[in-house]
Point group: C2
Chain length 536, copies 2
């Protein structure tokens, strides 16, 4: 759309709090290893600050900062430790919680403080003046120790509506004490964009310091509220990837960045990095193990998917008439849901990534595109199953996949004795030929899939001792409705690791066991192939 670029060239700092506020989401439970995996992805995307957690208050977070100081070397991001101002009636340098923030070695410290007088009196149970002193002391002390200090003014908007003068005193106090930014928080998430714009405008008029916005999505307006705050003069935005967070979540940082850059001309991420948004959002959801939301603005798998009806030909000729932005700007693709038009280029690219050059081989490329299309209609997905996709390419390029074994039959079962309070007994038996002989093995497990995995390995490890190294590290099941009808199919994604390498495979079937079997076999075949093992 042709519009005035209201923020042309304005730099807005992106502050990611996926690892702290995002981790408050119901059902999310990030380990230290998860945080160590996500932080470099955020740095690679180019966010300005990565908030890692609350050292001193949460033992896992203390450990994360310890490891991060030793092992993480960011290209451009600054690491921030979150914590609160000193307790009432102490001094900042004696406060153990403030001490823990310093000890984290994070170059940025984000202090949360009360700015709503009601919270000061009813939750904090201290005096308005002591709260301001807590802000002043804590900021000054940490700035004096050489840290950049950001103040998160909790419940700012509600507080401002109730008592603007006290809320403003909290802001002024923080700036006077040396805070680099004061972040106005819509902690309860109930604001509307118009209100945010009006209040930020008033605060801007009363202070010279740099303002930030921290929005939650309780009224469904977190993205709009963040954009409204920037339009009114805020230059720092806090949010999370995929909008993770407590209750309805935080502002989706990537949607905010995309709106600010593509629609208003601001600069949020380094040049070209917005094109990594889709990949980063999906990669992080693999770590959090929260399925990506298909309808998520900009990065969702459906975000640029069109049901090809009457307008299919018009969309093909003139896609810009039917999409608000070019999806490649955020690393996404237009998809026609009936016949995929965008597949060829991305499959060629993916093939190259996996070591297959399909550029000069249009026939093979065409066959692979057809197979992907057909498989995806059946419920397969290759986004998170590189190894199954590589095996498919291997077949199309090399003619056949290596046959490490010939399955004769398998059986998996659950046997449950005593209806109430009993324990299920799960076992599986495979009968196959490998290394010139027939092998029959039975495995046990806590579920039938687990038992089948054990039986397969037992049967093959004698002939292929390399399998000993393979470990099943993740297992996910989804029940899908295929697009072509109402019959549900089951999809299983498996992740396997050999220590040195990790790979993912997919299986689809009428039930969980047949789907899992397919993914397990792909996993073993790919592992052996990568290890350079010939069929025996």
């Amino acid at each position: 759309m042709t519009t005035p670029l209201a923020l042309d060239g304005t730099v807005v700092e992106m502050y990611d709090t996926t690892l702290r506020d995002g981790a408050q989401q119901e059902g999310m439970n990030l380990t230290v290893a998860d945080k160590m995996a996500i932080a470099p992805m955020l740095d690679a995307l180019g966010v300005g600050v990565i908030e890692g957690g609350w050292p001193g208050a949460i033992p896992k977070d203390t450990e994360f900062f310890r490891l991060a100081a030793k092992e993480l070397d960011f290209a451009s991001a600054q690491l921030a430790a979150f914590g609160s101002t000193r307790k009432a009636g102490t001094s900042a340098h004696q406060d153990t919680q403030v001490r823990a923030l310093l000890d984290s070695e994070a170059p940025v410290i984000t202090l949360v403080a009360k700015s709503d007088i009601r919270h000061v009196e009813r939750a904090l149970r201290t005096t308005p003046e002591e709260n301001l002193a807590m802000i002043a002391d804590s900021v000054r002390y940490l700035v004096g120790e050489g840290r950049r200090v950001i103040l998160d003014a909790e419940h700012f908007f509600d507080g401002y509506v109730f008592d603007p003068s006290y809320a403003m005193r909290a802001v002024a106090t923080a700036f006077e004490a040396g805070a680099s930014d004061v972040v106005l928080c819509d902690t309860n998430g109930g604001m509307l964009p118009d209100w945010v714009h009006r209040i930020v405008t008033e605060v801007r008029a009363a202070t010279d310091g740099r303002l930030g916005i921290h929005a939650h999505n309780d009224s469904g307006c977190a993205v709009a509220n963040s954009v409204a705050a920037v339009a009114a003069g805020a230059r720092h935005v806090q949010g999370t990837v995929n909008g993770y967070g407590e209750r309805t979540g935080n502002a989706d940082l990537l949607a905010v960045a995309a709106n600010l850059e593509l629609k208003l001309g601001a600069r949020c991420l380094p040049e070209g990095k917005l094109a990594d948004a889709t990949h980063t959002a999906h990669a992080i959801s693999e770590v959090t193990n929260i399925p990506p939301y298909t309808r998520q603005p900009y990065v969702g798998s459906s975000a640029f998917a069109h049901k090809a009806g009457l307008h299919a030909s018009a969309i093909r000729v003139d896609p810009d008439l039917y999409q608000h932005i070019d999806p490649t700007l955020v690393g996404n693709d237009m998809r026609m849901l009936v016949s995929d038009m965008a597949g060829r280029a991305s499959i060629e690219l993916k093939g190259r990534e996996l070591g297959f050059d399909l550029a000069g081989r249009p026939e093979i490329l065409g066959r692979v595109v057809d197979r992907v299309k057909e498989s995806e209609a059946q419920g397969y997905t290759y986004d998170a199953a590189d190894a199954s996709f590589a095996l498919m390419l291997h077949e199309e390029v090399g003619g056949e996949r290596p046959r490490y074994f010939q399955m004769e039959s398998w059986r998996a079962s659950v046997h449950f004795t005593e209806a109430i309070g009993g324990d299920g007994e799960c076992e599986a038996t495979v009968k196959l030929r490998a290394g010139g002989s027939r092998v029959v093995r039975t495995g046990e497990g806590n579920g039938p899939v687990n038992a089948l995995d054990h039986a397969l390995r037992e049967a093959l490890v004698g002939v292929y001792p390399e399998i000993e190294q393979f470990e099943l590290t993740d297992f996910r099941v989804r029940l899908l409705d295929t697009s072509h009808g109402t019959d549900a199919v089951t999809r299983v994604l498996i992740q396997t690791s050999s220590g040195a390498e990790t790979w993912s495979t997919v299986g689809v079937g009428p039930n969980i066991l047949e789907a899992a079997y397919e993914a397990l076999v792909d996993s073993l075949v790919y592992g052996l192939l990568q290890a350079g093992v010939d069929p025996r």
Copy 2:
């Protein structure tokens, strides 16, 4: 929050397009029966207009309108048929598609028309004047036939930015021809609230007719854009329940209504009906079979869930400090994720619904609350499993659940012959005592759960012929991470129908079979209990 109620008492019409635009969502496939089930729920909620589909263009929709005219009797909603203006170069009364709209017998007809000159020329491939004639003729003809006609001005905002005068001519033409409303559509969903507010304000200044807003969520601002349009003078909002829709979805109609009513003082639904929002949103998601989005504003299961940390006691004493609205206003509940504080009241209410008066029995109520809490921590959910909950109440009130049979053991298995291209053979065997004898039966199915269901019925139907009437009508599986660790558990929800009645049960276990077994047994026990059958 204390704010000026900018729209105090202003009436805004809620136009629901879940059944038409919502059904465009990727993966959604509504049957005629689904639409017949959803429409009365929308009427009960009190929306003003229910758009049912596109009769004449989609055979399923033609059938829906035929059935709706015969069988649906709305308390207050009007039914709308969606279609397009006449084709270029014909007359409205000769156009078969326009004819089909009349034949639908819907009292409201919503015509989609081009208002972006580029779409007229490049997609419709007709002249600007002919497009206006198509609007005028079609509206006038249908109004003359006694219908209320709403004009959806497709791509209005993009069109207005590109060529405001043509976009305005389309609006004026529709009003002159007798349209009751012209709905400004952000078809590509890329608008920001500030732009919507500015453009609607300009359009308002140029016309006296009633304006509506139809927003999509591509920039993450559909709710905010809808609210901005109403603030600028629109008095009709189109949207869908749960924000269903193509790409990133339509505006979430219930979030818009909640914002307009609770934050701006407008009147969208009949008095008190907003409190049905959560229930309606969840009930509709049961029909669409798209899992509810836990973080959905207002109605999501996490929308008022607090991780009880430092502030737990403050939240309990003073909940209004920590939530943007009282959750009961939208039929939702505050939840403390560690210890559920709100459970008692809602369980008492639910008990009453199921015929158990727990008000005077605090001890039983306390035990049930404890069991629910414990069970939910293990992965159970009773929102969608009334029958399992009723059995739990039955046990707590009556002491024990009826024992229709004693399970000795069961076994379910999948047997797969020939690895590639083969078909799995699923069977299950149950051994139990019922009616004084031991019964052993084997069932087959397309999956092990299906086989287990068949075996159970086979074994029991001789003693309890009532089971013959029970039909398993829905079966859903989810893999859950429990809140207390990383071990995934499997949850199975089963819906059973006896023709006259439908009930839902839940089972949780370490694998799909053990979970399904529990839900199947609950389903049979509840069915027999409801039928007044004594254990034999």
